[in-house]
């Protein structure tokens, strides 16, 4: 699989760089006059994407950085004359008593969600890979959490986990266990949103890992079986290593999605009680929009910290990919 994807991957990159650095193959050199028109055409094709990227990615990002470096009050926001204050907003955010808990919650939330989503997703993918009757139907049913709008699933979870009238506490009661204040106790609120988010994230892992499993040739399993490997060994020696590239991209995408999860937490707990389920995403929103008097500067600063975190992990992934490709 790796070998088939590599050449098409390299070629566009070579062409893009080729104009400036690497000389094109000598066969092209006699046609020196014609490139002008084709080059123009190439730029014309490139323009919509460039424009789109600039308008919808570069400009908002620039605005966000600009917001985080100025001291915005409501008045200066409207007049547009906010003084440049350098890193004052970042310092303010770092000194805030909410910073340490928010960082911890973001890390715990992301790590626990990723581990469980991946483990459960992989287990289900392996399970569904052995085609049995109704497996397609069952698999489709497992996709439901992914298809539901987040507002619906989050509200449903928050009803189910309601301390007074929730179905979860009713079930616990039937089992003889006392009620748990899932959403309203500082020691449980983070757990509750993690459970809900794992439920929402499993289908994505299931689908991607399942398609990864399909591309592993059955002959390998047959060979392993002939060599006397049992099911457990076949999983760890054949499935898992061959699934590594797919796993890497699943985990990276999962990481970026989970880092910025906002809706579920906001709908279920509003980051509370007493900041016990606040992550960077909800904190950023809380600063910028959760109050009658918006604090755009610090809000943007927290948002940028999230962007940087996601970027760092993205770069780590690219690096690992390159190493894998080289080896």
């Amino acid at each position: 699989m790796k070998q088939t994807t590599r050449p098409p991957d390299l070629r566009p990159a070579g062409v893009r760089d080729g104009a400036a650095t690497a000389a094109p193959p000598p066969a092209h050199s006699p046609k020196r006059r014609r490139p002008t028109s084709t080059q123009w055409a190439a730029w014309a094709f490139l323009a919509p994407v460039t424009l789109y990227l600039a308008l919808f990615y570069a400009y908002p990002l620039y605005r966000n950085i600009d917001l985080s470096l100025r001291n915005y009050t409501v008045r200066s926001f409207v007049q547009g004359d906010a003084p440049f204050t350098g890193l004052a907003n970042y310092r303010k955010v770092l000194d805030d008593p909410t910073f340490a808990p928010a960082l911890l919650h973001t890390a715990v939330f992301t790590a626990v969600c990723l581990v469980f989503q991946y483990a459960v997703g992989l287990a289900l993918a392996v399970f569904f890979n052995q085609n049995f009757r109704l497996s397609a139907t069952l698999r489709a049913l497992f996709l439901v959490p992914w298809l539901l709008p987040l507002i619906v699933s989050a509200s449903t979870w928050s009803w189910m986990l309601n301390s007074e009238s929730g179905v979860v506490n009713a079930a616990l009661h039937a089992l003889g266990i006392g009620p748990v204040n899932w959403l309203t106790s500082p020691s449980w609120s983070l757990t509750s949103v993690i459970i809900a988010n794992i439920w929402i994230g499993v289908p994505f892992n299931l689908v991607v890992l399942y398609s990864g499993l399909q591309s592993i040739p059955t002959s390998l399993y047959e060979a392993a079986a002939i060599d006397g490997a049992n099911a457990w060994q076949r999983f760890w020696r054949v499935t898992f290593p061959l699934l590594r590239p797919v796993s890497a991209i699943t985990l990276l995408l999962g990481l970026i999605y989970t880092l910025k999860v906002f809706d579920i937490i906001w709908i279920m707990t509003k980051g509370g009680p007493a900041d016990s389920s606040t992550t960077f995403a909800t904190w950023s929103y809380q600063l910028g929009f959760g109050n009658l008097l918006p604090a755009f500067g610090p809000g943007a600063a927290v948002g940028n910290l999230l962007v940087v975190a996601a970027l760092v992990f993205g770069l780590v992934y690219v690096r690992v990919q390159r190493k894998q490709a080289l080896s």
Binding site: V78, P273, G290
Partner: protein, 412 residues
């Protein structure tokens, strides 16, 4: 080859930049012109529940026709409207008339988005002074109330009867707590309210804070601690459900509408729902700590005139606002919104038509604006710290005294 490709790159970059600049200007001029059409006046309101066929939209059109202009109305979600207005003002296309939730007025005034009633010669003399105060800061008035609502205690007569509670005995916090205890002993549920970590939570806590004699400027006072301790003890003793921490006023109402709760702290706007639910209910003003009625915060919207580049537009805007807040129109608007009118004259008319409104009119008269007393934009900061303190205490992570002391320190 190398140099020519660099040249091409440069031209391409220049073309891209040019295209971007053109699109950018096209965008900004496009959005700017929408406010400048001389015969059309824009009105923003927080009533998305009213569609084109509603009496409200028709009223806006009527007022427009009377002033000789066309009306372009846009409805927003109320929590969105403050930020939308700030953004619009930044881009120089504020609406001509803005109807906005009263605690937002002082923030918008601070941002320089709103005109004063002196500038536009808007007459606010008929509005009740305690309601008008929410839209005043620094001795200036930035709009006029279109209607008001506030909080009181709804009670379920059936539940109270079963528990053997005489509602006339509920006069202060001690007798209220005693009533809750009786209700709980009778196997029913006590009281439900909303202590959620948003402005809504602060709104619901305020009658108790003010009823204790505490002030918003001193959250760490012993009175404030006593108010928060009251709520905490209700939760601890099981008089109030733990779900109040996550309840909005709507979800807390749904708990009450279930029929098991004796009391619910809720607003004027639930009156229609109470009838629909078929509850045998009564309404009681929220008692103060030692008797009397506690001041409740005022809810409801203000009609304001945002600053325009073309100051000539104010005359027509002023006509529109005067028309919207005229006695006859106020009566109709406030009846559909289930609000109490902001003027004594219309309040009299409302009570004459619907006796249920009587306790609410009294409650509105005793109510206090959240941003009044020149708190203005200090209020949002205080409020945020207050709901955080309420949340920490009710969830058991801090004592009332510690929570309010740190709230006061952070609000400064």
């Amino acid at each position: 080859m190398n140099s020519s490709s660099r040249q091409r790159r440069l031209t391409a970059a220049a073309v891209t930049a040019l295209v971007m600049a053109v699109t950018a200007t096209a965008c900004s001029s496009g959005s700017g012109s929408s406010g400048a059409g001389s015969g059309t006046y824009t009105i923003w309101d927080p009533y998305p529940q009213f569609d084109k066929a509603s009496a409200w939209t028709k009223l806006l059109d009527q007022c427009g026709t009377k002033a000789g202009v066309k009306i372009k109305r846009t409805a927003f979600d109320t929590s969105d409207l403050g930020n939308k207005t700030l953004l619009a003002a930044q881009q120089g296309n504020s609406p001509d008339v803005l109807i906005v939730d009263n605690p937002v007025v002082s923030t918008l005034a601070e941002a320089g988005v709103l005109t004063t009633t002196d500038d536009t010669k808007l007459d606010t003399s008929k509005a009740d002074p305690n309601l008008l105060a929410a839209g005043q800061s620094g001795g200036k008035t930035y709009g006029t109330p279109i209607g008001a609502n506030t909080l009181a205690l709804y009670y379920n007569k059936k539940v109270l009867k079963e528990a053997g509670v005489d509602i006339a005995s509920v006069k202060d916090w001690t007798s209220l707590t005693a009533a809750l205890e009786k209700v709980k002993k009778a196997g029913k549920k006590g009281i439900t309210f909303s202590a959620i970590g948003t402005e809504e939570g602060s709104f619901q806590f305020l009658p108790w804070l003010w009823g204790s004699g505490a002030k918003l400027t001193a959250l760490d006072s012993s009175q404030a601690v006593s108010a928060l301790s009251l709520w905490k003890d209700w939760l601890k003793n099981g008089y109030a459900p733990n779900s109040v921490l996550n309840n909005t006023q709507t979800t807390s109402w749904q708990e009450f509408a279930g029929g098991d709760y004796a009391f619910s702290e809720n607003g004027t706007w639930q009156l229609a729902n109470a009838k629909k639910a078929g509850l045998d209910y009564g309404v009681l003003p929220i008692p103060g700590a030692n008797g009397g009625n506690a001041a409740a915060p005022t809810g409801g919207e203000f009609v304001t005139i945002p600053v325009q580049q073309d100051t000539g537009r104010y005359t027509t805007s002023q006509k529109l606002v005067t028309c919207l807040t005229s006695t006859a129109n106020l009566y109709n608007t406030d009846t559909t919104l289930s609000y109490v009118a902001p003027t004594g004259e219309v309040q009299g008319k409302q009570v004459a038509a619907n006796a249920d409104l009587k306790p609410w009119v009294a409650a509105v008269k005793a109510a206090r604006g959240r941003t009044s007393d020149d708190l203005g934009t200090k209020y949002p900061k205080i409020s945020e710290q207050m709901w955080k303190a309420v949340q920490s205490v009710l969830s058991g992570s801090k004592s009332p005294k510690d929570a309010l002391t740190s709230a006061q320190a952070a609000a400064k």
